[in-house]
Amino acid sequence: MAKVTMRILPKHKDEIREGDKESPIHGDVLEAMILTRLSLVDLVAASRVSKAWRGSVSTSLRISPRVKPWFIVYALHRRKLSLTSAFAFDPSSRVWLRIHNIPDAQFTTTDITSSSSMGALQSSHSQHLLYTVSTTGFSFSFDPFHLTWHHVLAPLAWRKDPIVARLGSRVLVAGGTCDYVDDPLDVEMYDIASGRWETCQPMPDQLQESATSNWLSSAVTESRLYLLEKRSRLICSFDGETKTWGPISDLNLFSTPNNIDAPDPVFQSTIGFVDDRLILVGLMGKTADLQGVGLWEVDQDTYQCRPIGEMPLEMVEGLRKANSPLSTMRASTEGAYIYIYDPRNPEQIFFCELSEGICQWGHAVNPMMNKGNAINKFVFSCSRIGMGDVEKAVASGSRTFTVESGGDGLSSFYSFTAPCPV
C-alpha cells in the first residue's frame, strides 16, 4: 500500500553483499518489491535468514512502514472465562492472523476469583488497555500484545462495569454500579510509579443514571479523559493533573456530513482519538433502521462539532445486514484508525483510516469465526505493532502467529476512499 516508485536496476557486481552470493534475489528487488508484500510475521522470519536479508528487511520497513494498528480479538469462553482463541487483523498487510500459545494465566485474574464473573477480562476501548477488576484485585496490561500484566490491590469502592482508562502512568477507574454501595460516581486513580490509589472528584451529577461503561464512551490523552453519554451526547472531561471534572455540555451535531438539508438523527455515538483529533462516530437513523454512519471532529475545548466524513452507503448496507442489534455496535480508535464492529459477533469489521483529508474506508471478514464462537465472549484491543513487538512476543515463547488469509487475494477486503476536510 506504500507508494514506492519502482526504478529497479540490477546492482553492480561489487555491490552485492557477502551473504547474497548464492542467491540472485537481493537488494532493491527484495526490499521494494517482495518484502513489502509480506506481513510483519513473515518479515521476522526473513530477518533471520542472513545478515544481508536482515538489512533488506530493515530497508523494506523504511520504504513501507507498518504503523497501522492491528485489531486484536481475544475470544473467551463465556462461562469459564478462559481464553479459547485469539486473532488479529493487520491492515498494513491486509491479513488475518491467528495468535497461538498464549498462556492462559495471563488472561485470567491470577489468584483472585477467577471462577467468578467479577474477574472477567475487559477492554477499555482505548490505548489498548485490558483489565480485570474484582473485589480483591485489579490487573491491567497495556503493552501491544499484553505480555506484561500489573496486579495491584482493588480500588476502595468496587463496582461493576466502571469506566477504566489510562492517563499516562496512571489508571483511572470511574463510576460503575454496585448493589451494596452508595455513590456510583466515585472516581479513583492508580499511580503506577507510587503504587497507590487516590480518590478524585466524583463524576458530574448529570451522569448519575448512566455512570457505567455500557452507557458512556471514553477518549483519552496522556492527561485528559473525555466521557460521552452515548444516547444523550452529554460530554465532559476529567483533568488527570488537577483530578477534577470540567463543565458538562451537550454536543450539537448540527448536520450530517453529506445530507445537510435532511439530517438523519444520530441515535448512538462513540468518541475516540484518531491521532490527536477527538472524533465522534455517530450511528444515524433508528436502532432498527440504520441510515448511515457519520464522523465528526469535536473541538476539545469548545465541544463544537464539525462533520468530516460518512461511511459509503454500500458499507452501511453491509453493516445493517451483518449484525445483531445495532445498539451494541462499538467503535475503537488507535493511530489513524477507527474500527467499527459488533462486540458480540466480530465476524465482520469495518474501519476507516483518516489521513490528509481523506477517509479510507474498508471492510474485512474474519475467516476464523465460526459457529463454535457462539459460546465465546470477545475482548478487543487496537495496537500499533512494530517489528520489535512481534519479535519480542515470539521470543517470549508466549505468542506465535500464523497468517490465516490475505495478501493481494483477500477477496473479503473492500475499500472505498472519500475526501474529507482536514
Binding site: 519502482m6 529497479i8 536496476l9 540490477p10 557477502e18 551473504g19 547474497d20 548464492e22 542467491s23 540472485p24 534475489i25 528487488v29 527484495l30 518489491m33 517482495i34 518484502l35 508484500r37 509480506l38 506481513s39 513473515d42 522470519a45 526473513a46 530477518s47 533471520r48 535468514v49 542472513s50 545478515k51 544481508a52 536479508w53 536482515r54 530493515s58 520497513l61 523504511r62 512502514p65 507498518r66 504503523v67 491521532d275 493511530g335 500499533r384 512494530g386 517489528m387 520489535g388 513487538d389 519479535e391 519480542k392 521470543a395 500464523t402 497468517v403 495478501g407 493481494d408 487475494g409 477477496s411 473492500y414
Partner: protein, 184 residues
C-alpha cells in the same frame, strides 16, 4: 493492425519478432509504438536473449490484456462485478474455463529456476508489464510467506552467516527497527 510486426533487440544483439498487439502488453513498448518514432528495431539493453523469449511468450498470451493475470491473483473474483443482477451463467462458465486454462498455463510458464525468476522480474519491471511483474513478485513472496528462516534459506539457496551468539542476540535486541512509532 494485428499483423504488424515489431522487432526487439536483446542486450546481446539478438533480434526477436513480436506482434504489435502482443507488444502492447508492455507499457514501455506501447509508448514507443504510440510515440510513432518506431525505427525498425527496438533495442532493449536491459533484457538478455535468454529472457526475452520468455517475455514475448507472456505478451503473446496476454496481448493487450494487462488485467487478466491480476484477476487470477485475486482467486478469479473480480470485485467490481461480483454480483450483477442479470448474471449470465453461460458466460460465467466460459469465464471460469478461461481462467482455469490461464491458471494452468501460468503454472507451467512459471516453472523455472531462481535466476530466471529474478531476471524476468527485472525485465517485467523495465518493460512495465504489470501482470508479469505481479506474477513473478508474488512467486518470490510465496517462497517466504509462512516459512521458517531455515525453509527460506533452502528456497533461496542461502547460508546463514549469523553466529550462534548473534542468533541469540537478535532475540534480545529491542527497538532496532525503524518502523516503530515513526509518526510520534
Amino acid at each position: 493492425m494485428s499483423s504488424t510486426k515489431i522487432f526487439l533487440k536483446s542486450s546481446d544483439d539478438k533480434t526477436f519478432e513480436i506482434d504489435e498487439t502482443a507488444a502492447r502488453a508492455s507499457e514501455t513498448l506501447k509508448n514507443i509504438i504510440d510515440g510513432g518514432c518506431l525505427d525498425g528495431v527496438i533495442p532493449l539493453p536491459n533484457v538478455s536473449s535468454n529472457i526475452l523469449p520468455k517475455v514475448i511468450e507472456y505478451c503473446k498470451k496476454h496481448g493487450g490484456d494487462n488485467g487478466s493475470s491480476k484477476k487470477i491473483a485475486n482467486g478469479g473474483v473480480d470485485k467490481d462485478k461480483e454480483i450483477l443482477p442479470d448474471y449470465d451463467e453461460e458466460e460465467d462458465k466460459r469465464e471460469k474455463v478461461r481462467v482455469d486454462e490461464l491458471k494452468k498455463w501460468e503454472e507451467e510458464y512459471m516453472d523455472f529456476d531462481q535466476q530466471v525468476l529474478y531476471d524476468l522480474m527485472l525485465a517485467a519491471n523495465y518493460l512495465h508489464i504489470k501482470g508479469l511483474l505481479d506474477l513473478t513478485v508474488e512467486k518470490a513472496a510465496s517462497m517466504i510467506r509462512g516459512r521458517t528462516p531455515d525453509q527460506i534459506r533452502e528456497n533461496f539457496n542461502i547460508n546463514s552467516d549469523f553466529t550462534p551468539e548473534e542468533e541469540e542476540e537478535m532475540i534480545l535486541i529491542e527497538d532496532e527497527w525503524d518502523d516503530e512509532w515513526a509518526f510520534d
